[in-house]
Symmetry: D3
Subunit: 239 residues, 6 copies
């Protein structure tokens, strides 16, 4: 069964990144995985959450949101409903953990960097685009602190990027778009460093449970995808 987009099984959508998209943010980019567009903006706050006061350590956290009409049919505005959904909270916790896995929290003083990931347009894979773009926003914000001589060096241990994989029509495929995502038998999100080590694996059987063999194939695809994404990140930060 061919992919709706005609892509090969291990082919990602076109990735484009516009660093500095948000004029006011300390670091930002607009990242596009095909028709999925996410604006990632980092804000530096000169204070940490209460449990870190006087610890000498900083914190990195994330918030996530979708514009109401980023989706095929309109999604209610979370601000109007008065609370964030469980899905939103899961995603923003995932983004934060992923970034912290490659950040030296001792390396930028008692500051909090908050990354807002707002989905301007959604076509599957918003959380993986968010993580990949958030890393760039974070890097740019750290650059600003280095430029101002507030910190001596960028406290990032490496890159982190994320991609989805799934079993679609019986075959493992890389970087699911919405048409695939809503029909996949199994759906996984992988957060992987530029060294190929793993920060986070989330795999879910939407229908029939999956086998070890299937899972390992997804993992292989994810590593290929994240390696490509780290390359995009390098270009975006001028590296």
């Amino acid at each position: 069964m061919p992919r709706p987009s005609g892509r090969a099984g291990d082919e990602m959508r076109q990735v484009t990144i516009e660093p500095g998209f948000a004029k006011h943010a300390e670091g930002s980019c607009l990242i596009r995985f095909g028709d999925t567009h996410v604006l990632c903006a980092a804000s530096i706050e000169e204070r940490v959450p209460p449990w870190l006061r006087n610890s000498g350590r900083g914190w990195v956290t994330a918030e996530y949101g979708m514009l109401p009409r980023s989706t095929h049919t309109r999604t209610d505005r979370e601000a109007a409903r008065g609370k964030q959904s469980g899905r939103t909270q899961e995603i923003q916790r995932l983004i934060g953990r992923s970034l912290r896995a490659v950040t030296n929290l001792e390396g930028f003083g008692e500051r909090q960097i908050r990354i807002d990931c707002d989905v301007i347009q959604a076509d599957g894979g918003t959380r993986t685009a968010s993580i990949t773009g958030a890393w760039i926003a974070l890097h740019l914000a750290f650059e600003k602190l280095v430029e101002k001589q507030a910190i001596p060096a960028i406290p990032l241990i490496g890159h982190v990027a994320a991609i989805s994989c799934g079993i679609f029509g019986g075959a493992p495929v890389l970087d699911l778009d919405y048409a695939e995502d809503s029909n996949a038998e199994t759906d996984g999100n992988f957060v992987i460093t530029d060294g190929g080590t793993l920060c986070e694996i989330q795999a879910t059987a939407e229908g029939t449970p999956f086998t070890d063999t299937e899972f390992l194939e997804l993992l292989r695809l994810a590593k290929k995808g994240c390696a490509e994404l780290c390359e995009h990140q390098r270009k975006a930060i001028g590296g």
Copy 2:
């Protein structure tokens, strides 16, 4: 006292409009007043609020939001705080009223058109850009209904656009940017049709109360500005 931007007193910021910016929405545009960028997206819903059921009439409403880092310093996410601010509610009520003032509510059946106005970047005048762009999104959504032969004609009586004016440094100026807005003695928002009639006037003394004469000068500037904006709208809808 010259304007921070160097503009003449009756000179607007550069206006650009990208219709169709949001792929999934029935009508949309990204509107820019200088560094103020608002994404306006119209969604057609095949049902009306309870008080209009079986009335044969439709409804037009709006929601408004700002991305957390659209502002100079980060603003808390309303979805995370669990409620919309009074300011947000004022603005979305204003957008809705302004659009309804030029819409024939009998002309599109029992449907609701909801316009989401989301501020991607803020530099003063977000509510006036929202109204001006929302009219385009609404027009495009109505076009879609006409194309589908769901309604016979676009049920808009005319254009509506909005602009701010204020007393800055003692002089009346058109289209305040953030640097002016936060220091103006008087600040007004005007919602005006292409016929030059008035839908809404909101004028506030931030410091010293203002005189009739000053107010009339603001009104004159606003009419000039809205006439220009209607011209931009015409081009955006291919008119």
Copy 3:
């Protein structure tokens, strides 16, 4: 078309003011515009909001509410619904701004005066009665601070009062009651000082947009109304 109440176009409803109505408040009055009755009560707080700490300045703010059965048919209690409506928030922001426009915020130390405007009975014009009565409550609270020698003089630059005007049955009329308000083509609220200068203008086309000429006639009526209200205020404070 005659007014439902039989009043002349430029005739206000009977205004009565009972200063000192709320025994516990530092300043208060019950103000009546015909069948619209609002209890305005000022509370002096010996602390300011966070953004004014150590500024040497005070703050004046307002809250607004309606008793559930102040209205023709019962309105849900906002405390039971768990949030204040957009309308409530708009009104209380308007009352606060109007009072601050005639208050010298440097003149009463780091104190906050909070004015509660609670509608006991509603028949149109609750926000304008609230502003007019709130000024009295504020004046009386400042008198109390002067009496206690906490401040040297009443830090009010002048009076402020408010009135509604509208186009009803094609004609401009002053001080709309509920029967007029719910059928007016255009509806405006004007906040005006005793010197005749303007603090706030809010005018809305409920149906057909209005012309400059119509607006100017509303403004003329509003000035007449507010001048009368300032006279009532003077009597109420024993001036």
Copy 4:
């Protein structure tokens, strides 16, 4: 130890009742127990809560609120805080139960009568004044249904009134005002019919637990007080 007000131990505060105080309500009164003033307003709703649909029975319920500056020092507005306190909920549940104890719920069809009890000024005993006044508002609302021939007779089995008693300075006293209430060793609220039977007893030791003998003396006082209040009710409804 004399009572702060100089009253005898079994002496109530002056009670006054203004029936029909709220112009729009189907039944209402302003009831005063000395400086405690409560506006009670009944609204007839032509539908019952879900669990009574198609039962042929009606329902009586109550809501309670305090104006923010009804109290000695200002109390936060519950609508602004976004929820009703536990105390508010206790009181409104008590008022509803007390009224239902003397109402024939089969006697007025599938209607709900909602009684709003809003404290305009507080000086102790707001819940007992509320119950006593709510009965009058309820009676007047039922009169209106009889007048309209919607129901054949007033479906009230009898009167119900309420009063507080307490141990103050070691002695039992009737109808505590705020000065007593905040210093009483024991505080009780009694809801009693005109036949002298009991609907509700709530007695609480604020300090030392109380004895049976003390409790029985409070009960005796309460019966005397409620008998007087039923007399006031009779006059208020023109009986």
Copy 5:
């Protein structure tokens, strides 16, 4: 009319108490009144509410909850609904007051003891089981403070226990189970010390108001029941 359980009118359900049920709590027990099972757990907090800071006094408070399926048919989870019901708030306020009535608040420094009473299974009388069990949890927590030599002695003036009584089928009965509770004409909860003095009385006519004589019979039963409960408490704390 016999009791559904076959118990005599003055016969309580079987009471069992497992002290130390919650491994992590400073004091705890699982208390059972027949099929009503409540877990009471005391937590010692080294800080008091704001109004007691620098007073040298401590505070005792309680929270109450029911597991969703503790009841015959499932009850919505309060955490999911986003607020605690009025009933929950009434009960937790009652538990707190009852405990404070026998606690010397000067005797354990500026600490707060918070008792969580969570209903594992409900069959009537959850609030009375909660109070009776909470006293044990509180005692055990105080024991822990004495052991650690943080306080010199257990600051409890005596025992407090609670039981319900009601008029069921025309007869006064002790310790209502759910089958009785939902059909009782009158229902009362009594909180009584080991000395037989009264902390709290709450009696409610669910149908016909009740007489003094009936009430006194309920009080007599309650005293008998609480005396037995104090005996159970003594055994549970090894006294």
Copy 6:
């Protein structure tokens, strides 16, 4: 580095299961993984969520909560805070998905089974104990429907159980307790069927990212653990 509990790396804590623990629930058990105790209770509802009406399909969902003092130090009650945490929502979504992965949703009509998983005592692994126990509660509830002849057969495709694994002190270990969980370098939760296929994998690097090899070792341990848990399930349902 030895495990704090002295267990071997692939050794689980003692598992005990008491089926039928909750008297009122249609299916229930108390499941213990060592000192982690979770009460799982299934409620059958004769209606489905709106999106499934008239589909002929049923739904299985879950809610999760922790008693405030189930934890080492007290956790705030979510009902009192007015919302469920992101963690709570993640867990209850996970439990629901896991159960649905082995349930034939066509096999029990338009019913919803809701499983409440309430943590009575916590010592690590509450979500895995919840899933494992929830399956038993679900099975028992289905048995009840079969007994009542409401459905012909139990619509479960197989067992599902869950266990945590992690890298602790550099070594892979099975079934982390709290002491391990709070210090693990990597932490994973695995949801596995009795056939050894995978429903859900969640693995997170708390510190250093992990390698493929490490992950595969965790997966191997998890399979061993879940096989043992399925055996416990079989016994608990009398199979």
